[in-house]
């Protein structure tokens, strides 16, 4: 029976050893993202009933020590679900915030070099010419201001178009990241199902998979379903992105300036609801084209209105007779605006007059200067300046909304993450206390072995000297 005590002590030693190992594992992963602390569940091992015909003289069952029943993750899946739902909205609004920050940088308002200020300078330059139509310096300044205005309008338009192609590139990158996540989840599904089938709990693999699912949430509006065998399926718009051990990759298609996300192979479109992919699609397909369209409306109004007057006028050197019908602005085939090159080369050709050979005649210059207050945009309800100011305010408003949404959503995600961490994150204090607890138990079990050893010594070496 003494040998049985040795066995019991040894079990204790082994169990405490496992507990110390798990504690060490927790400590080592204290800062690992997505890691949930693990606990060793200790249970008494099956008791030993003394076999006897008549057991009345003996106590009942004899304990046989301790066993490690399981090592479990301490984690609350309800919070995981909430975290993922809120992450989708956070991913969407963060993407919008970034995009609008770039758009605001393109507008560069309110500054002395923004398009608003350049429009003002342009109109003022026409008044300066109308004050001294015969003055070449005023004409040269006008041409200069008009060139700067056109260049800035072109720059803004090109930069917004560049942001649009950047969004397409980001979409491709994010989609390949989503595909990578789907692939890894499918691979983890395989390992997890296999491990569970043999009765093990693959805690670290589960953590890895949960972390991937957290990441995926910010990209897409995916729904996740856990199967009884331990695999998770991921669905996008009702179709599987991951089905057990198989993943179905997405692809980005850009046609005619419109981007879409489709299932690779079938090319049928993916119905996304939220997440950064949807935000990028919105920015690419509607926000940026809308802004470019409004800048083009400004460009067209400017060119058409100025030209309509300018073509009826005469430059300083134009002969009498019908007006030379010279435009002031030219819209190039690529959509860029420029000042008519012959006027840039010779500012005398600026048609300030409505009659030939009258250098002091400023009728056209005055009329163009007064375009500043003409309602030419938005169904003839807004001046060019008004329209632009409204556009800037719209961009600012959308950007502010995105920021507020992002901040709120971030606070929500942080709060859920905090609740989650209250349960699953590693406390070093707690682990240290446990370590000492298990260490002491381990020492005690070792001491028990020493005691048994002494008992055996007594039996073997100190008793029954007969026959020696």
């Amino acid at each position: 029976m003494v040998f049985r005590a040795l066995e019991t002590a040894f079990r204790g030693l082994m169990a405490q050893q496992r507990a110390v190992d798990t504690t060490n594992h927790n400590i080592a992963n204290a800062n690992t993202p997505g890691f949930a602390r693990q606990r060793v569940a200790l249970v008494p091992s099956a008791p030993y009933t003394v076999p006897a015909f008549n057991r009345s003289g003996l106590a009942g069952q004899i304990g046989t020590g301790v066993l490690v029943a399981s090592i479990t993750r301490i984690r609350e899946s309800v919070f995981d679900q909430q975290y993922r739902v809120q992450s989708q909205a956070l991913g969407e609004s963060s993407t919008l915030v970034d995009a609008y920050a770039q758009i605001e940088a393109v507008f560069n308002e309110p500054t002395a070099s923004g398009l608003g200020a350049l429009l003002d300078r342009f109109w003022r330059a026409w008044q300066a010419v109308s004050n001294q139509p015969e003055d070449l310096a005023a004409r040269a300044a006008l041409v200069q201001d008009a060139t700067t205005l056109a260049a800035n309008l072109n720059r803004m338009r090109t930069q917004l178009q560049q942001l649009q192609s950047d969004a397409a590139v980001k979409l491709t990158l994010q989609v390949s990241e989503v595909n990578g996540i789907a692939q890894r989840v499918a691979a983890l599904n395989q390992q997890i199902v296999a491990a569970l089938a043999t009765g093990q709990t693959p805690n670290d693999l589960l953590d890895q998979r949960d972390l991937l699912l957290d990441k995926l949430a910010s990209f897409t509006g995916a729904t996740i379903r856990t199967l009884p065998n331990g695999a998770v399926n991921i669905y996008l718009g009702g179709y599987p992105l991951v089905d057990q051990e198989q993943s179905f990759p997405l692809t980005v298609q850009v046609a005619g300036g419109t981007a879409s996300i489709a299932w690779q192979g079938t090319n049928s479109p993916v119905a996304l609801e939220r997440g950064s992919l949807q935000a990028l699609l919105d920015i690419h397909n509607s926000t940026l084209p809308g802004l470019v369209g409004k800048l083009e409306a400004i460009r067209d109004a400017l060119a058409n209105e100025v030209n309509a007057l300018h073509t009826t006028g005469y430059g300083l050197t134009d002969p009498a007779g019908p007006p030379p019908a010279r435009p002031f602005f030219v819209i190039n085939p690529d959509g860029s605006l420029e000042v008519e090159p012959t006027i840039v080369a010779d500012p005398q050709l600026v048609a300030a007059a409505d009659a030939a050979a009258e250098p002091g005649n400023n009728a056209i210059a005055r009329a163009i200067a007064e375009l500043r207050s003409k309602l030419v945009l938005n169904g003839n309800t807004a001046t060019i300046n008004d329209f632009y100011n409204t556009l800037v305010a719209e961009v600012g408003g959308a950007s502010q909304t995105a920021q507020v949404t992002r901040d709120n959503q971030q606070a929500l995600v942080d709060a859920i993450d905090r609740q989650r961490k209250e349960i699953m994150s590693v406390s070093l204090d707690e682990e240290m206390a446990n370590l000492i607890k298990y260490q002491q138990a381990y020492g005690a079990a070792a001491r028990a072995i020493t005691a048994v050893d002494e008992m055996l010594d007594r039996i073997i070496n100190g008793m029954g000297l007969v026959g020696r």
Partner: protein, 291 residues
């Protein structure tokens, strides 16, 4: 509630970065003296700032136009005054020449002076400002009075030169030579011819023409004066509008320094406190106290 060190560090970092972001924003408002650095800071305010900034620019241009128009009218007035003085002298000479006791030689001398006055009047009519002839109508780069003929002929036109002094409001700044100066030159020419004819009655008869020319000249001067008054009133109005626009612009777009500096101090204090408390909160673990 279970709190771990990881959570403490998370909270600390989140609070510090939020704090820094607020501090950075106030700092930017202080150093740029502008409340709005991006449209999203204050979308409606941005539109207001753009609109008022544009309005201020517009008013400044109208003010510049008013100043320029006024300069032109002042010079016109001076020229007309000079011509008026010459015409007054012409009248005096004609009255003198009409005296029956004068000899033909005396009249010859008067004729010579009248000729000189005629040329002086025409030369004054050719006054230019910054390369533009004041009395040429819209042909501002051609000398309006041709001195090679007698009397000097007017080569300009009758066009008005209009300047914008407000939205949709113009003022004409010129007096075409044909209106005020040609009658004067014709009257002087008539007087010279009469003096040359040595006939006191004919000479006396020209006084009526001279008086008529003088009346027209005075009318032109009065109209110039009226326009100067109008410009002065407009300038006062524009200056008022400019001041109030700038005040509104400042209210909408400028940093309230006292408030911003106070806020900055508050943020700085919070930041320092957060740093200090954080540094102490994340330091100790049970590990530090075991053996």
């Amino acid at each position: 509630m279970r709190v771990t060190h990881g959570m403490l560090v998370d909270t600390l970092l989140k609070n510090l970065s939020g704090n820094l972001a607020r501090m950075e924003r106030v700092y930017q408002q202080i150093t740029s003296a502008r409340r709005i650095s991006r449209p999203s800071d204050y979308p409606v305010g941005t539109a207001t700032v753009l609109r008022l900034g544009s309005a201020a620019q517009e008013i400044e241009q109208y003010l510049a136009n008013v100043e320029q128009a006024r300069t032109w009218l002042d010079l016109t007035d001076q020229a007309l005054t000079t011509i008026g003085q010459s015409l007054q002298r012409v009248r005096e000479l004609v009255v003198q020449a009409a005296n029956d006791t004068l000899s033909a030689d005396d009249r010859q001398a008067i004729w010579a002076e009248l000729t000189a006055l005629q040329e002086q009047i025409a030369t004054t009519g050719n006054y230019a400002h910054a390369g533009q002839y004041l009395f040429a109508g819209s042909t501002t780069q051609t000398e309006p009075f041709d001195l090679s003929t007698d009397p000097p002929t007017y080569r300009g036109n009758n066009d008005q030169l209009l300047r914008l002094i407000d939205r949709g409001v113009t003022v004409d700044i010129n007096v075409p030579g044909s209106v005020a100066i040609v009658p004067v030159l014709q009257a002087v020419k008539q007087a010279r011819d009469a003096v040359a004819s040595n006939d006191p009655n004919a000479i006396r008869a020209t006084l009526a023409t001279i008086d008529a020319a003088q009346t027209q000249l005075l009318a032109a001067q009065a109209s110039v004066g009226a326009r100067v008054n109008r410009l002065d009133a407009q300038r006062d109005r524009l200056l008022d509008a400019h001041t109030s626009t700038l005040r509104l612009l400042s209210e909408a777009g400028d940093t309230d320094m006292a408030e911003a500096v106070t806020r900055f101090s508050k943020e700085e204090l919070t930041y320092r406190a957060a740093l200090q408390a954080g540094a102490r909160a994340i330091q100790p673990t049970l590990l530090d106290f075991l053996r």
